[in-house]
């Protein structure tokens, strides 16, 4: 880090700082995909021309969001589709767990022990939708999926780090208020000492900048930070005079890693407010697709052979020990690439070679049923608490305030090493770990927790990963090749998007393949005419 705060700040330096803070080219690139930049990119889903009497058969492998999207669009244009799904359920990594649901994790099978109540559900996979994910929101709108606001950032939640504040949890509100106070003070004071600038602000700029720094940090008239009601009151404030909390010292704040990471989580393009999520669970989207679809979805069909034919594709699959083969004009394949790699096929060697280099996303989520909504006693309604322990996060339900019970997210880790540690545990050990670590955020946490579920996505049957892991190099050399069809076979899913792990990636990847099919169909018709 350069010493921005020791020397006066010039406009150039200021712009440099801003670029580092929020608008690096990488972030711009990510934002552009979804139209966050000033070029509007309205969701205009691929509209397939009706087949008008022609017969086209499409086999869709996998009943996740990309497969359902493809089936929905294709059948509306008159294509006859069949979805083959290997697992016991529809939805893929859109997995909302409720009372009695079977969790098919290799080695750790579970049945969801939550009470049978509509508000007691856990989104173990996809959980939130940013407003610029216009593809998935298009289907929410057209299929009538009711949405609620979802909160990633709640100032009343906690941050906990063993290295800071004696390991005691601190309200995010307090931490951020103090941190901003110090930053504001440093900015304001360094800006006023304006000598030897290589290109100084003019007076108006300077004045405005100091006003900004003052507002940013809530400084007093002397541009000094002396605490703020943004951190909440130590006492009083309603019917008696407010007493402010004493600010924590900057060195103390810096001992916590919150300021270098999680504090900025909700600045990430896909994590920034306002976020949404379907009422009653993310699988409302899956149910909405199923209300419309006439395409059959066959469960327990495990693909064992993919053969490209001169004019189509032949798929062999196992169902209850019997082998079946079906032919189709096209195959849209949403099977995770790491599993396609193990399926016998005549797919081109360079195509399969890329699949073999993709990493398996390792990600763990734990859901806990609490017999009392104790977080509401601590003024928490929705949002995320952060800890440096393996559980990383605690989420509080954004819905059903004041009900008797609630489902917490008790752990969410996406660091591969952490997820490996959870995977190596028995289910009971995972719950015990989640409770022990959660106790550092909420005293007596354990006494409220009745039961729970744990999902290590790298162990989930028929998936063995959550979100393909592309290295930057592989993305450069392999993405386009894998995105292009091999014969009449298309590999799709969020794995073939720049946003693996997001439903938007799944929708857009399906649209991409459908646009290509549309083009080929137009050419076929044109050739005949």
């Amino acid at each position: 880090m350069t010493n921005y705060f020791k020397t006066p700040l010039t406009r150039r330096q200021c712009l440099g700082l801003l670029a580092k803070a929020g608008s690096s080219s990488a972030i711009l690139g990510a934002a552009g995909i979804f139209g966050l930049t000033n070029i509007p990119l309205n969701a205009s889903p691929v509209t397939l021309k009706p087949l008008q009497g022609k017969h086209r058969k499409v086999l869709i492998l996998g009943a996740g969001i990309s497969g359902l999207t493809a089936a929905y669009e294709l059948e509306r244009a008159g294509y006859s589709c069949t979805i083959l799904e290997a697992s016991h359920r529809i939805g893929g990594r859109v997995l909302t767990l409720r009372h009695g649901d079977f969790i098919d994790e290799l080695g750790t099978p579970q049945i969801c022990p939550f009470d049978d109540a509509p508000n007691l559900y856990f989104n173990a996979g996809a959980a939130r939708i940013p407003a610029h994910h216009t593809g998935i929101l298009h289907y929410c709108r057209t299929l009538g999926v009711e949405l609620q606001l979802f909160s990633n950032h709640n100032k009343n939640c906690y941050t906990q780090d063993d290295a800071a504040f004696n390991g005691q949890p601190v309200r995010i509100r307090e931490y951020e208020a103090d941190m901003r106070g110090f930053i504001g003070e440093l900015l304001a004071k360094s800006a006023t000492a304006g000598s030897t600038l290589d290109q100084a602000f003019n007076e108006q700029d300077l004045d405005k900048f100091i006003q900004f720094a003052r507002a940013y940090g809530d400084l007093d008239a002397n541009l000094t930070y002396r605490g703020t009601d943004r951190a909440g009151y130590a006492a009083g404030g309603v019917t008696s005079p407010a007493i402010l909390k004493q600010p924590r010292s900057l060195p103390d704040l810096l001992r916590s890693d919150f300021c270098t990471g999680a504090m900025h989580f909700a600045e990430i393009a896909d994590q920034a407010p306002a976020l949404m999520t379907p009422s009653g669970g993310m699988d409302s989207i899956v149910k909405a697709f199923l209300r419309q679809l006439t395409t059959p979805v066959h469960l327990h069909c495990q693909v064992s052979n993919i053969q490209l034919l001169p004019q189509g594709v032949a798929i062999t699959y196992l169902k209850q020990g019997e082998s079946y083969t079906e032919q189709a004009d096209y195959c849209l394949n949403c099977i995770p690439a790491q599993l396609v790699s193990g399926i016998e096929s005549n797919l081109p060697a360079d195509y399969v070679a890329i699949m073999r280099q993709l990493g398996r996303g390792k990600l763990t989520k734990i859901g806990l049923q609490a017999k009392q909504r104790f977080w509401e006693q601590e003024d928490i309604y929705s949002g995320i608490s952060w800890t440096k322990q393996d559980i990383t996060q605690i989420w509080y339900p954004h819905h059903d305030a004041f009900k008797a019970k609630g489902i917490l997210l008790g752990a969410y880790s996406w660091e591969p090493q952490i997820s490996d540690r959870f995977a190596a545990m028995t289910h009971q050990q995972r719950l015990a770990t989640a409770i022990a670590q959660g106790t550092k955020v909420h005293a007596n946490y354990g006494q409220y927790i009745e039961n729970g579920v744990s999902v290590c996505w790298q162990r989930m049957n028929h998936m063995l990963g959550c979100g393909a892991v592309w290295t930057e190099e592989l993305q450069k050399t392999g993405f386009e090749l894998l995105q292009a069809p091999a014969g009449n076979h298309y590999l799709i899913g969020d794995q073939l998007s720049m946003h693996p792990g997001w439903q938007e990636g799944a929708v857009r990847s399906a649209w991409h393949a459908l646009a290509d099919i549309e083009q080929r169909e137009t050419l076929r018709t044109g050739a005949r005419a």
Partner: protein, 210 residues
């Protein structure tokens, strides 16, 4: 008492019926559609392994002889599955794998390995694993010919670094570990595996009921 009844009710629900998949289809998720192995999952070729060896390895995982090391994520995956299976289910899984029709695997040649050096190193292997890497049931030594080279490298490294063959009651593993430790470095492992890769295809497996 109520709790026991509740557990019984849950176990007999349709949800649990889903967990007991007929014909052990779990195997093929990781090990490939014909149990031919899958490099993306680091899952070995099971089709070339005889029944007795498959059974022995299920036991090795259940006994914590394999999958014990904290950073052996792949071993732990298999161990988690083996721990959920009883003897009858293991027999069922092996029978299921035997019913898969074999598939031809592409040959991948390691051009940086010294096959002649590998042949010399293999002399100490052949006493147990056979001159053609066909294995030896009496000595509990599995066939090597036809196994993926990346898996052989991975397992020789695992024996060398103590992920396998490191437990006092795993006598066969301990023997193998001594031999693996005699391989000086990664190049030696690559050389001997390249030689095993060059061995002609073995005879069709002799099925034993051992």
């Amino acid at each position: 008492m109520n709790k026991i009844w509740l557990v019984f009710m849950l176990l007999s629900s349709t949800a649990l019926a889903d967990s007991k998949q007929p014909d052990a289809r779990y195997c093929l998720v990781c090990h490939g559609s014909a149990a031919q192995g899958n490099v993306a999952i680091k899952a070995p070729n099971l089709a070339i392994l005889p029944d007795w060896y498959l059974r022995q390895q299920f036991i090795a995982f259940r006994n914590n002889w394999r999958g014990n090391a904290a950073d052996d994520a792949h071993g732990k995956e298999m161990q988690a599955v083996a721990n959920t299976m009883n003897d009858a289910e293991i027999d069922q899984a092996i029978a299921f794998i035997r019913r898969r029709a074999p598939v031809k695997l592409p040959i991948s040649v390691n051009t940086t390995a010294d096959i002649q050096h590998g042949r010399q190193l293999y002399q100490q292997c052949q006493a147990c694993h056979g001159a053609n890497g066909e294995g030896n049931a009496q000595l509990h030594a599995p066939p090597l010919a036809g196994q993926h080279n990346w898996y052989l490298v991975q397992q020789l490294s695992a024996f060398k670094n103590g992920w396998r063959g490191n437990q006092s009651d795993d006598s066969y593993g301990q023997i193998m570990r001594q031999f693996a430790q005699s391989l000086a470095n990664d190049q030696a492992i690559a050389d001997v595996v390249a030689y095993i890769d060059s061995l002609p295809p073995t005879q069709p497996l002799v099925r034993t009921t051992q």
